[in-house]
Symmetry: C2
């Protein structure tokens, strides 16, 4: 598997696309990094901060020489963009993405993509409540996890190439089916967003002077872009609702313990939460 | 109001008591800082890290020369400890505390304390999911808020002394009634703890490898001590339950929007959460 690529193209140079581009440039993983997007101003900024080496607003030109294309557009647009890339790229081009929901994307791509291009879904488990390539971070993926979701017909050599690419950016790679990914991320990413948003939305503005690090940590991701998260939550509806069921069951047991002044039961549930949280680093 | 005290005694040298002591020592706010506690080993450690200048396991000796006593023991014990301090300290000694629930403490103290000592409740809105004076931080209160809860019969000059003390530690001071404090903190501190604990407890351990900064931020405070939080949540039951009602109402509106695939409603609630969160710094 290759340690260097000639040309990698990134479609969508926001926080994730910009961070991946900056990491490729800093680590010299590709000779050329082409940023593709609709906004010439945003592309200029991406080039200025060193996230890409050249830019274009024309998809066809942007992917013409690419060995690897990474689609970093919002969740709802990924499948369509992968399809469009596959129609104009060279036959040996690999395509991956950074979408947060995989079942919908992979099945749409599987239905529509020709056999001429190879798509393997990826989801880097890193990000920020911030948006825009001005917040790019070349180390965003260092020690993070990237989930890759190969399909039945995925070529093992091409899968190894994609996995190697993420390793070169400093990430660990986990293989999952699209369904297992969506089920797991509903619990570890999408549900926390729902909970953080609800907590922030349930806080009257006049109480904010009495918030401290606890409220701030617990609600931080609520500052994420509402439209991006609408797409993610609706794109993974059934799994998110199941995770929400499980959360509400635990929440209800805490409510009952408080209502009934039942210290033993309350402490037990708090201790369970602590035990799980203590399994993970800061 | 004084800028320096002769002797300040701290009852309970955990993370909060240790941090307050370390700040007093570093900022030279008192000539002597006496640590009082049950465990000689813990007191030795507090002295070693510079959180106190002397130690004792005997309450009466510990408060004999104190101009100010700060009770930093767990919530459920504060009222009793304030009472005990008031029975043995000099007539002009000020007493405050660092308890997270104020209504219960202040009314218990009001019922039992004699007129010989002055108690004014305080709640520094700072802390950590960690416990123990090894995690003390002399800057824990810098730019934080301390809520003080004067009673009807509180002497204004003594209130000014207590407020000045917290200012000297770098904090801002907000005056509230005990009831207003408990109502507000139910929303800004106690509810977030319930939500973070429930979220952590609802996460299967096998899903943890797929957690990233979102889950980690949102659940961080769930690592807090279960017994301390049992005391806080049950000590502020009615306000916590009201805050939980409000949270569940918002959560339910998100659930309905996801169930009904209602993108407009979902985005609206997410945007409300973002708007509130954006009012507060990182």
């Amino acid at each position: 598997v290759r340690k260097q690529w000639n040309t990698i193209s990134i479609l969508g140079v926001g926080l994730i696309g910009g961070s991946i581009g900056a990491a490729i440039c800093q680590r010299k993983i590709a000779k050329k990094v082409v940023g593709i997007g609709r906004s010439a101003a945003r592309l200029r900024q991406a080039k200025k901060i060193g996230a890409v080496t050249s830019t274009t607003t024309q998809l066809e030109r942007g992917v013409a020489e690419a060995d690897l294309v990474i689609v970093c557009t919002p969740s709802d647009q990924v499948a369509e963009h992968v399809l469009r890339v596959s129609q104009v790229c060279a036959p040996n081009t690999l395509i991956t993405d950074a979408g947060s929901v995989k079942g919908k994307i992979v099945s749409q791509v599987e239905r529509t993509i020709g056999s001429k291009a190879c798509f393997i879904g990826s989801h880097p488990l890193a990000g920020s409540e911030k948006t825009g390539c001005q917040y790019s971070d070349a180390d965003l993926l260092v020690d993070r996890v990237v989930v890759v979701t190969p399909m039945r017909r995925t070529d093992q050599r091409q899968l190894a190439e994609i996995e190697k690419f993420w390793h070169l950016l400093g990430a660990q790679v986990i293989q999952m089916t699209p369904a297992a990914h969506d089920r797991t991320l509903a619990t570890t990413s999408h549900l926390p967003h729902v909970v953080a948003s609800a907590l922030a939305a349930a806080t009257p503005a006049h109480d904010l002077p009495c918030t401290a690090t606890g409220w701030r940590d617990t609600t931080r991701i609520a500052a994420g872009d509402a439209e991006l998260w609408r797409q993610i939550l609706l794109g993974n509806r059934s799994h998110v609702l199941k995770s929400l069921d499980r959360f509400e069951k635990v929440l209800n047991s805490i409510r009952q313990a408080i209502e009934q002044d039942h210290g033993g039961q309350l402490r037990k549930t708090l201790a369970t939460g602590k035990k799980i949280r203590d399994l993970v680093a800061d």
